[in-house]
């Protein structure tokens, strides 16, 4: 297992030296005091999330005081790799909704894509501004060795978690200002500005204003990421709207203001495709705007991300991303995929069933760590039950090796102990393509645990990228 702080010969890595000596100076009383401070801060500002199947409780995600540090060298590889991947995913989306070159070239079987529910037939032959379908791509990375970063999954719809990246940094700077004097940490607080620039650069063709009007569309305060919606719109200085604030008239989208109707150019939507427009998608949606897709298709407004962009982060598409990068960009992938077996293939299924106790099996349509089996952590009975599900619907599953996620020093009961982490940086694609130097580090708080999801006991850390 790769340790982020200690090298193989048990030495503190150069870039952790300062943080390590800072840690040694803190008594356990100070640590618990600071933990308490951080926790009450998060509670007061209301950075909470609601848990699936338990929608009444508001919880905060456990925050770990020890930052996860990346050197500039490590980051530059991640940066290039994530940007490369995000560009390829957008090129793929344009291609499958327009010319289908990748099918003609025989790289991906057409029927694998066109039959998917997440492939939006109504987007065929439509091209969004700048051909950007997914302006914010969250790429989940794991690390297994010094230079070994792998992509676990892509998030092309509305990746969340960026508010934690920003709030974790704020609380660290507030509580430990000295740390930021002794370490040159690249800033992340301009992310909202960059996001706004990105969205403004994607104004639709009928927009005649040099300052396009951007809004953030939220499903409402019951959504688990509501805090993030308020946070981002506040930081960008754009209205956070609900469907009830919007209406369509004469091929344009308007919001109801105290001044009368105001035209909207770009909608950063945080609601799912299915709920977007009751006239075009789910007719029962009450959080959607009737007619918004018509305005979109006629160039009156841009919707970010584009309807149908979700196909690009489908687990069945994931396996083709390295080939997409070669096909669309003519480049060698900088970040590799995790080896993946597709259970719908007979050979793969056979291998998976024979080695199930060593593999992680995931539902193709699952998310948030639900509906998965971690072979080495499961009982015989659990494995047997899962195997029969697998045999019944092999097309619904993929399998990956249990990866030895890197471990990062973490405070557990005021003692430092290694816990496994992943990393989600956020790539922005507009007129410019850029990656904010940081991201969301999630940490599996259970000893030896691999599950970093907040809904299953994961925590978060501040993520540092050093300037030099």
């Amino acid at each position: 297992m790769f340790d982020e702080m200690y090298s193989e010969d048990a030495q503190i890595r150069q870039h952790y030296l300062q943080v390590n000596s800072w840690l040694r100076t803190m008594s356990s009383t100070v640590i618990s005091q600071k933990n308490y401070e951080a926790e009450s801060h998060f509670k007061r500002i209301g950075i909470t999330f609601s848990v699936k199947d338990d929608d009444m409780s508001e919880r905060i995600i456990p925050f770990d005081l020890i930052p996860r540090i990346l050197t500039n060298y490590e980051w530059s590889k991640i940066e290039k790799g994530v940007i490369q991947r995000s560009k390829a995913l957008n090129a793929f989306l344009y291609d499958i909704y327009n010319n289908g070159e990748i099918f003609k070239a025989g790289i991906i079987p057409e029927e694998n894509i066109l039959k998917k529910d997440s492939y939006d037939q109504s987007m065929i032959n439509f091209s969004p501004p700048n051909k950007i379908y997914s302006p914010i791509v969250g790429v989940d990375l794991i690390r297994t060795g010094k230079d070994d970063f792998y992509v676990l999954e892509d998030n092309c719809r509305t990746p969340s978690g960026v508010s934690y990246m920003l709030e974790n940094r704020e609380i660290m700077m507030k509580m430990f200002p000295d740390l930021f004097h002794s370490n040159r940490v690249l800033r992340v607080d301009d992310y909202p500005t960059r996001l706004l620039q990105t969205l403004m650069s994607l104004a639709p063709k009928k927009c005649d204003s040099s300052v396009p009007t951007v809004v953030l569309l939220t499903p409402g305060h019951l959504n688990s990421a509501y805090y993030e919606h308020t946070f981002l719109s506040d930081q960008m200085g754009v209205e956070m709207v609900e469907a009830q604030d919007l209406f369509v008239e004469n091929d344009f989208l308007y919001m109801k203001t105290v001044d009368g109707p105001k035209k909207i150019d770009v909608v950063y939507r945080r609601i799912d495709d299915d709920y977007l427009d009751p006239l075009a998608y789910n007719p029962n949606s009450v959080i959607g705007v009737p007619g918004i897709t018509h305005v979109y298709k006629t160039g009156g407004v841009n919707i970010c991300s584009a309807p149908g962009a979700g196909i690009a982060d489908d687990k069945a598409v994931y396996i083709y991303v390295p080939e997409m990068i070669k096909f669309y960009l003519g480049e060698t992938p900088i970040l590799d995929n995790v080896q993946t077996w597709r259970c719908e293939r007979d050979d793969d299924l056979k291998y998976v069933l024979e080695n199930i106790d060593e593999l992680v099996i995931k539902e193709v349509d699952g998310s948030g760590g639900h509906g998965m089996l971690i072979g080495p952590k499961s009982s015989k009975q659990e494995i047997e039950d899962f195997s029969s599900k697998l045999k019944l619907h092999p097309e619904g599953y993929i399998a990956q090796p249990t990866l030895d996620l890197s471990s990062s020093p973490t405070l557990i009961n005021n003692e430092i102990s290694g816990r496994r982490v992943d990393l989600r940086p956020f790539c922005l694609l507009g007129e410019k393509v850029q990656l904010c130097p940081g991201g969301l580090t999630r940490v599996a708080l259970g000893k030896g645990s691999y599950v970093v999801n907040s809904s299953q006991g994961g925590g978060v850390k501040d993520t540092w990228v050093l300037a030099d």
Binding site: R44, I45, G46, H221, D234, D245, T257, V258, D259
Partner: protein
């Protein structure tokens, strides 16, 4: 500014103002219950309930007036839409919907109040806690108002303070209406302790007991009190002060000048005449009639704001 945002801001401050009024009324009732009278103790809970506009709701739930029930009804009862609990919950939930129109400080102030309120509600209510609860409530409202001062001076700010002063104008006028008879000149003849106490109730429930002493020299008279609450622009709860602030915030709105002049025309009469009124002229017109007329003007104004800006 979104219409929905403006509406939420307006109501947040109305609810917070109302929470303070409830707390002050409870405080008055509580104090009075500690003073003996010949028959036992003073009982002002009846007039507290009517000043709170809660008599109907209370009697649909309870058959008779009982201190514990009144306290619970006005402070904690979820079924009472104007209880301190309901007001703070609604203010906080409205704020949740418009967090982006708020500074983080203003949101934190409301969220913290709400969370503490939930803790109080969980605990067992003891009668001697009431002064702490009312004091706490007033602190929360002050914290909210203080944090609202850090807002951008845009329309949102003015909608917040329109809500504050419309609610306050309404609350002050209703309270005067419940107690108007103690301010009539004839009350001076009756004199005696009881009426003094009635004046003190009025002054305390409008948080002006000490302020009044500073504002007027000499004896306390009903005419001075009436002047203080209706016409004195130094008194932050007087009808005149409220109407001036309503007009100020209304005219400071940058949106829709046409709507604003429309709304103002309905208010112009009250705003201009109150400058030249005297206590004598109001008594001659009829104190009760004057206050009732004022309440109906404020309620008409509220309707207009809802129709023009939030519809």
């Amino acid at each position: 500014m979104l219409s929905r945002t403006a509406e939420n801001l307006y109501w947040i401050s109305r609810y917070m103002e109302r929470a303070e009024t409830m707390a002050r009324l409870l405080d008055v009732g509580y104090r009075m219950s500690l003073f003996p009278n010949p028959k036992g103790y003073h009982n002002e809970w009846d007039s507290v309930l009517s000043a709170a506009g809660a008599s109907q709701g209370y009697f649909s739930k309870y058959n008779e007036i009982n201190q514990d029930n009144v306290e619970d009804y006005l402070f904690f009862d979820e079924e009472n839409p104007s209880s301190v609990y309901s007001c703070i919950s609604k203010a906080r939930n409205n704020a949740l919907l418009v967090r982006t129109a708020f500074t983080p400080e203003a949101w934190v102030a409301l969220n913290k109040s709400y969370k503490e309120m939930l803790e109080f509600k969980k605990g067992k209510f003891i009668r001697s806690d009431l002064p702490n609860f009312t004091e706490w409530t007033i602190q929360q409202v002050n914290m909210f108002r203080g944090s609202a001062n850090s807002l951008l001076r845009n329309d949102g700010y003015h909608f917040i303070f329109l809500g504050t002063f419309i609610e306050r104008a309404d609350n002050s006028a209703r309270l005067l209406d419940v107690k108007y008879f103690v301010l009539l000149p004839t009350a001076d003849y009756i004199g005696g302790n009881l009426d003094n106490l009635q004046w003190i109730i009025l002054l305390r429930s409008l948080s002006s007991f000490r302020a009044f002493r500073w504002a007027y020299e000499g004896d306390v008279t009903s005419s001075k009190i009436a002047h203080f609450f209706i016409l004195n622009n130094d008194c932050s709860r007087s009808l005149s002060f409220c109407i001036n602030n309503i007009v100020h915030h209304l005219n400071s709105l940058k949106c829709s000048p046409n709507k604003i002049s429309d709304i103002y025309s309905g208010l112009k009469g009250v705003h201009e005449t109150i400058k030249n009124e005297t206590v004598e002229s109001i008594i001659e017109y009829g104190l009760h009639e004057y206050v009732t007329n004022f309440v109906s003007k404020i309620s008409y104004l509220d309707n207009q704001i809802q129709d023009q800006f939030f519809g």
